[in-house]
């Protein structure tokens, strides 16, 4: 079994003054390459903490986390930065684009930190075309709609061809129609590229579209509802079958209207 993510008994303890807060209490699970997984749970369940761990933004207090076979939990800050750069693509709820610069420069930003000096513009343009924004290359974020901004963010997430895409409430700031379009885009990219997709969400409609739901409750896995295994398999099969390119224009059109 090809696991892109292996989490072994991860705990995370924050010390706030005198009080110790146990955000994660020994969580273990695997995510297969190409899987679409959502992480759900009420506020304070450790959902964000888990996402930070998986995205290599933070280190667990104890436990082991393998991303792409690499033991991330014991890396230095700079090594973590490299992991985030090469292996993780982030999509945030609030888009997090640099407002001063064009979509192209925004999308090309991870390339800069990857040390790629030539051909950045071409790569960025390709990524923008892949999310259906080939004609919004020179626009700045404030000249784009929310859905378009999130597409730019998605293009930025995929530009370094990461192993996983971490989407933190990717539709949270969008209305349901545009949100669904972003969701479709993410799923399409997953199918086309085989990039593992991890979505943190509150929205059951979003979670329902993922192959598997990891539920958290009070820092532990909530195993009461775990019946989506077959769904996940189906998703992987779908990925294997499809070789079609994205119909970028169609997706874009959907995003506009």
């Amino acid at each position: 079994m090809d696991n892109v993510i292996e989490v072994r008994d991860i705990t995370k303890v924050y010390t706030m003054g005198e009080v110790e807060v146990h955000a994660l209490r020994g969580v273990s699970f695997n995510i297969e390459r190409g899987e679409v997984v959502s992480i759900m749970g009420p506020s304070g369940s450790g959902k964000s903490t888990l996402m930070n761990m998986l995205g290599a933004l933070d280190r667990p207090t104890a436990g082991e986390y393998y991303l792409d076979g690499e033991l991330v939990s014991s890396l230095t800050d700079d090594q973590l930065a490299r992991i985030r750069n090469k292996k993780v693509g982030f999509v945030f709820q609030s888009f997090n684009l640099l407002s001063r610069v064009s979509s192209l420069v925004n999308v090309a930003l991870p390339l800069r930190y990857a040390g790629i000096t030539s051909g950045r513009r071409d790569l960025a343009r390709e990524a923008l075309e892949a999310v259906g924004l080939g004609d919004r290359v020179t626009h700045k974020p404030y000249e784009l709609s929310g859905g378009q901004q999130q597409r730019v963010a998605v293009a930025r997430a995929i530009i370094n061809d990461p192993s996983i895409i971490m989407a933190d409430e990717p539709t949270g700031n969008l209305d349901s129609k545009v949100g669904q379009e972003i969701m479709d885009l993410l799923l399409l990219l997953n199918k086309e590229r085989g990039t593992t997709l991890i979505i943190v969400t509150h929205d059951p409609n979003i979670a329902a579209q993922t192959g598997r739901v990891i539920r958290l409750l009070d820092g532990s896995l909530d195993l009461s509802d775990n019946g989506n295994k077959s769904n996940a398999k189906k998703n992987i099969n779908a990925k294997k079958q499809t070789t079609a390119k994205i119909d970028a224009k169609k997706t874009k059109k959907g995003g506009e209207k």
Binding site: L57, D58, L109
Partner: protein
């Protein structure tokens, strides 16, 4: 990550908040401009003083009676005999010309105008030794000395005061201490020196002064002996030769000399050290304002770091290492101070120019000089200020935890 990209990005980010960047730059502009202006004014003062000292005459030595530093009991006065001995080419081969002189103050009058000025009883050599040239008329000659002639050469300032002009005065009769003297000539102006005008004097024949104007206890006494050496290199040698001659003649072979040989170089050294201190002092004050400008940069960069916490978090999430963030913010702060430095240099130059114009308008012989060293110093210093005061904010940015930074509102 290449340099040009970093540079452009920093420029873009500074451009994003023009007013704030502009105000920050202003602090550095003022600092650098002050440094440039102060240094150039200091340098100008130095050159003006050096120039006026050089104007006294090249290779010039002054021999006085007595000693500046030690109290000598009964110093022997200098005499014409001393002057002749110094002028002896066998005893003092480094000496080219000797000009003994009497000095005093006298009242000069013409018509209703009168002025008190320095009077010098001089031999013909005096003019060449001191680099005095006549603008009109003649120099004092041997005949005037022998005949104790009642002739006078006027300095241009005296001519201005008495006649309101500098031409057509030759042949007029002025009264010195009530005695009539024919004007033999008028000197060319040497310009106002920074330590007293060299134009405010009158020169009469040595023998005339001795007999009628500047009376001394003994007949062959002189107040000062001016010595011109054969060239600038032989000044030290000449000082040694003169000292030897005078020690023998005054019978003071051991112990303190009862005379002083003062070279123009001593004068220059003294004034250069004074102006040097002045320049350092002015530059120091200016440097403080540059420092304040630097603190301004730190302030703004700290605000900028706080304001862009989310951006820093995002960059870190996208794979920026500490180093990348550090370089980004350091580039911004250095760029601020560099831009400020460049504008400051131009501005300081302008101030120096204005000061020069004011000096010219008020007939002061003073030109501020903007030296390359001042420019280099200001540039380096401002860049260093930007770097130094950028380090703290930049390291704060670089050490932000990505998780915290991303959550920051």
């Amino acid at each position: 990550m290449n340099l040009a990209q970093t540079f452009l990005e920093a420029l873009e980010s500074l451009n994003g908040n023009k007013l704030r960047s502009g105000l920050t730059v202003l602090g550095i502009v003022i600092g650098v401009a002050a440094v440039i202006a102060m240094l150039s004014v200091g340098r100008g003062a130095e050159e003006s003083i050096t120039g006026s000292i050089s104007g006294i005459g090249t290779n010039l030595l002054f021999v006085f009676r007595g000693d500046f530093s030690e109290t000598i009991r009964n110093p022997k006065p200098l005499t014409l005999g001393d002057a002749q001995a110094i002028g002896d080419p066998f005893q003092a081969p480094s000496v080219a010309a000797v000009a003994p002189a009497l000095q005093g103050n006298a009242e000069v009058a013409f018509g209703g105008e009168r002025t008190t000025t320095q009077i010098i009883g001089a031999t013909p050599e005096y003019f060449s030794v001191r680099n005095y040239l006549v603008a009109e008329g003649d120099y004092i000659t041997e005949e005037h000395i022998l005949g104790r002639a009642s002739v006078v050469v006027l300095g241009p300032d005296v001519a201005d005061k008495l006649f309101d002009r500098r031409n057509g005065i030759t042949g007029e009769t002025v009264r010195i201490e009530g005695q009539p003297f024919r004007v033999l000539g008028v000197l060319e102006s040497k310009g106002g020196g920074s330590f007293g005008s060299q134009d405010d004097l009158i020169i009469v024949p040595f023998s005339t002064a001795q007999a009628r104007l500047i009376r001394r206890s003994s007949n062959d006494r002189v107040d000062i002996i001016l010595v011109q050496t054969v060239d600038a290199e032989s000044v030290d040698l000449a000082v040694e030769e003169i000292s030897q001659i005078l020690r023998t003649r005054h019978r003071t072979p051991i112990g303190a000399d009862d005379f002083t040989v003062f070279s123009q170089r001593d004068l220059l050294t003294t004034f250069e050290s004074i102006t040097g201190i002045l320049t350092i002092f002015l530059g120091g004050i200016a440097a403080i304002s540059l420092l304040v400008g630097g603190i301004g940069i730190m302030n703004i960069m700290l605000v900028s770091v706080t304001e862009r916490t989310r951006e820093i978090g995002l960059r870190k999430a996208l794979g920026a290492r500490k180093r990348d963030i550090l370089i980004q913010f350091l580039t911004e702060s250095s760029l601020l101070s560099l831009i400020g430095g460049i504008i400051g240099i131009a501005f300081g130059w302008f101030i120096a120019y204005v000061v020069g114009q004011i000096a010219a308008a008020t007939n002061t012989d003073f030109t501020p000089v903007v030296g390359t060293d001042a420019i280099l110093l200001a540039t380096l210093f401002s860049a260093a200020v930007g770097l130094f005061f950028g380090i703290y904010p930049a390291s704060r940015a670089a050490n932000l935890e990505p998780v915290e930074a991303l959550r920051y509102e």
